[in-house]
């Protein structure tokens, strides 16, 4: 299967910031060989792509793992600090990786678990909804600034003759922003008292939390596991082909290059 390998290699090695990098020992997969061995490689995570290089200074990656339709889990290997990337596609090989220590292992597992495009898309969609809700709340507030509220606080009524001041948004101690001139407080916060004569909008009811966050309530990832384990589309088979292909192609190219070097070609 063809791949735009030059572009892929460029993406892997260009100076766009990586999401995580480091040395890991990668288990060597041998079909007809007893005993396991590991090779130390330089790993670079960019987006949903995990590249590995023979050495940190290598100019081209040796291989590529596409982090879609996979799980990252701690590994019951003989090695300490081992974890595995396993794919839902039964035909795809697993990658067993070993970190230098507990902290490194945890950091890698965390980074890899959240690397998928699907995860990003989920988060973005969730934020889109939240932004929409926040805008709607603001719009509703602006339309009816004199709506009575259930708060029992005393309120200064606005004097229609006065022009409201144009202020930049200020941040209150409780972290909510407020705008003047028909603006409002987003969320159920209480406002500080302004000088008399300025409109004080009533506080909005407490912001409703989205279904995703209220369902779990845990301090860890707010997405329930069910949301992350979506049914595997047939396209994941394509990704495992990419892994196999890329590894082989690069190995062949490297051998050819090394042979040319030996023969004294530039």
């Amino acid at each position: 299967m063809k791949l735009n390998e030059r572009s892929v290699a460029h993406y892997a090695t260009c100076d766009s910031p990586a999401d995580h990098t480091g040395f890991l020992r990668k288990r060597v997969e041998r079909h007809h060989h007893h005993g396991t061995s590991y090779q130390r490689r330089w790993f670079v995570l960019k987006g949903n792509l995990l590249f590995y290089f023979e050495e940190r200074e290598s100019r081209e990656p040796m291989g590529l793992v596409v982090l879609e339709g996979c799980t990252v889990e701690l590994c019951e290997a003989a090695e300490e600090f081992a974890f595995a990337i396993r794919f839902d596609d039964a035909g795809a090989r697993a990658y067993v990786l070993v970190a230098d220590g507990q902290a490194a292992m945890e950091a890698w597992v965390k980074a890899l678990s959240r690397a998928s495009f699907d995860y990003m898309r989920l988060v973005v969609r969730e934020l889109e909804k939240q932004l929409e809700e926040a805008c709607k709340s603001l719009a509703a507030c602006r339309k009816s600034p004199r709506r009575s509220s259930s708060s029992g606080r005393k309120r200064h009524l606005s004097n229609p003759a006065l022009q409201p001041l144009q202020e930049k948004p200020t941040t209150l101690e409780n972290g909510y922003s407020t705008w003047s001139s028909g603006g409002c407080v987003a969320g159920g916060a209480t406002c500080p008292d302004y000088d008399g004569g300025q409109t004080k909008p009533p506080p909005l009811p407490p912001r409703r939390r989205s279904a995703a966050s209220s369902a779990t309530g845990s301090p860890a990832s707010g997405l329930s596991p069910a949301m992350l384990e979506s049914p595997v589309p047939p396209e994941t088979i394509c990704f495992s082909k990419l892994h196999n292909w890329y590894g082989q192609e690069i190995a062949v190219l490297r051998r050819e290059w090394q042979e040319r070097q030996k023969r004294g070609h530039p």
């Binding site: 063809k2 939240q130 972290g175 987003a186 707010g222 088979i237």
Partner: protein, 119 residues
């Protein structure tokens, strides 16, 4: 240049292409650091940052289909998603004073920070 009929599938940030009626793709394009250009009628092209003169051209059945593909492909990169996330996070933070990523436990991750210089 000869145009060959292909089944084309956009899956996350990869564009796979198949010979029609075949189950396995014959090729894939990683859609990062690329530019999608609307060419003549029904045609768009994909080119990559390190080799801008090399264009992968695609001809669609209709102009409407062509526009759909251009829009979908422009939003297909992981980097585009990341920029969207940073944008929404920033906007929500400005409006509500709260960081929406805190509930996911990912607010500290470097890859989601505002002002990070990303391509």
């Amino acid at each position: 240049a000869v145009l060959k009929k292909r089944l084309v599938k956009l899956v996350v940030n990869f564009l796979f292409y198949f010979r029609t009626d075949e189950a396995e793709p014959i090729g894939a394009l990683l859609l990062e650091h690329c530019k999608i250009t609307k060419e003549e009628e029904n045609v768009f092209s994909i080119s990559f940052i390190e080799e801008p003169e090399r264009k992968y051209c695609f001809e669609c059945a209709t102009e409407e289909q062509c526009q759909e593909w251009v829009e979908a492909l422009r939003r297909a990169s992981y980097e585009f998603l990341r920029r969207s996330l940073i944008f929404y996070r920033n906007e929500i933070q400005k409006m509500t004073g709260k960081d929406p990523l805190e509930q996911y436990g990912i607010s500290e991750e470097a890859r989601f920070q505002l002002g990070a210089h990303r391509q």
